[in-house]
């Protein structure tokens, strides 16, 4: 990365905003696996492996997986957020590889939210 100027900061902000909002056309679904120490200790790595494996097996190209830090609710870890374009993000709690596979097949591919595993929809509000 080249050295940034203040203008660059603004440009990056706009560009990433677009990406994060899934509006660049190639990405339909963003899956965030929350991987702080607590998440990893309760099995986030295995959950991550499961979804990557599913993507490889099914060969889909419009699902992109990213990681993030702790969501704060450690007692419900591992947590996974699934955001499908133009829909509210869905947060799943107490995930494991099997649940992740089910969410992948049913929710990400077929659009059917797997209610029994859901913690909530939407995002936290930052005032």
């Amino acid at each position: 990365m080249a050295k940034l100027t203040i203008n660059d900061l603004k440009k990056i902000k706009e560009k990433v905003h677009k990406e994060m909002a899934l509006r660049d056309g190639t990405r339909r679904v963003k899956v965030t696996v929350h991987m702080g120490t607590c998440g990893i200790a309760s099995g986030a790595n295995e959950v991550m492996d499961a979804i990557l494996q599913e993507i490889e097996e099914t060969g889909v190209s419009d699902v992109f997986v990213t990681t993030s830090g702790c969501m704060g609710l450690c007692s419900r870890e591992p947590l996974v957020t699934v955001e499908i374009i133009n829909k509210e993000p869905i947060k799943y709690e107490h995930m494991n590889p099997n649940k992740m596979r089910q969410v992948f097949r049913k929710h990400i591919l077929e659009g059917e939210v797997q209610t029994p595993f859901v913690l909530a929809r939407g995002t936290e509000v930052v005032k």
Binding site: T37, C38, I40, A41, S42, C74, S75, E77
Partner: protein, 164 residues
């Protein structure tokens, strides 16, 4: 200098000794380099017996007492060899209130070792730690790098049997 190296070679391989030299040289002229040297040396050599401390003292041009003082002050450093796996039971407050004490007792009983000791077969070293920051999962037992959360006394055997 020679005698120190000879002493070292009784316990460590030439590669390890070379690595130690490399670490010392890296931090030789850096102020405050002693602790990083000890940290890296422990990773390379697993433990820091007196010959290693002597070598470091000479290399960094510090009195041995200073090196020994630092080694004994910080809980991260150890002077005796360790088991193949380190079992660390968290006795931080959150784990303690959720039953960490019972887990600790179970392991002590099952392996016949006290805190800080290593099993006769050198497989496990038992330690207690103060809070690993995984309080949400208490009680927590960490084996090497693996964190096992919500451990119950009855599950200890099963968890440890995975490590051979």
């Amino acid at each position: 200098m020679k005698s120190v190296d000879e002493e070292l070679l009784k316990e460590f391989t030439p590669e390890q000794v070379a690595k130690l030299n490399e670490i010392i040289n890296k931090y030789k002229n850096k102020p405050g380099g002693l602790i990083p040297v000890l940290e890296e040396a422990q990773v390379a050599l697993e433990y820091l017996p007196l010959p290693v401390q002597k070598k470091i003292a000479e290399g960094l041009n510090l009195p041995l007492s200073r090196v020994y003082g630092v080694v004994t002050f910080y809980s991260f450093f150890c002077m005796t060899p360790r088991g193949k796996h380190t079992v660390r039971v968290c006795l931080g407050t959150a784990c303690y209130v959720r039953g960490g004490k019972a887990i600790h007792e179970t392991i002590q009983k099952q392996f016949g070792i006290e805190d800080g000791e290593t099993t006769a077969d050198r497989l496990f070293t038992l330690e207690t730690v103060r809070c690993l920051g995984a309080c949400g999962l208490g009680p927590v037992v960490v084996v090497d790098e693996d964190v096992h959360g919500r451990v119950k006394p009855g599950k200890v055997k099963e968890i440890l049997s995975q490590y051979t």
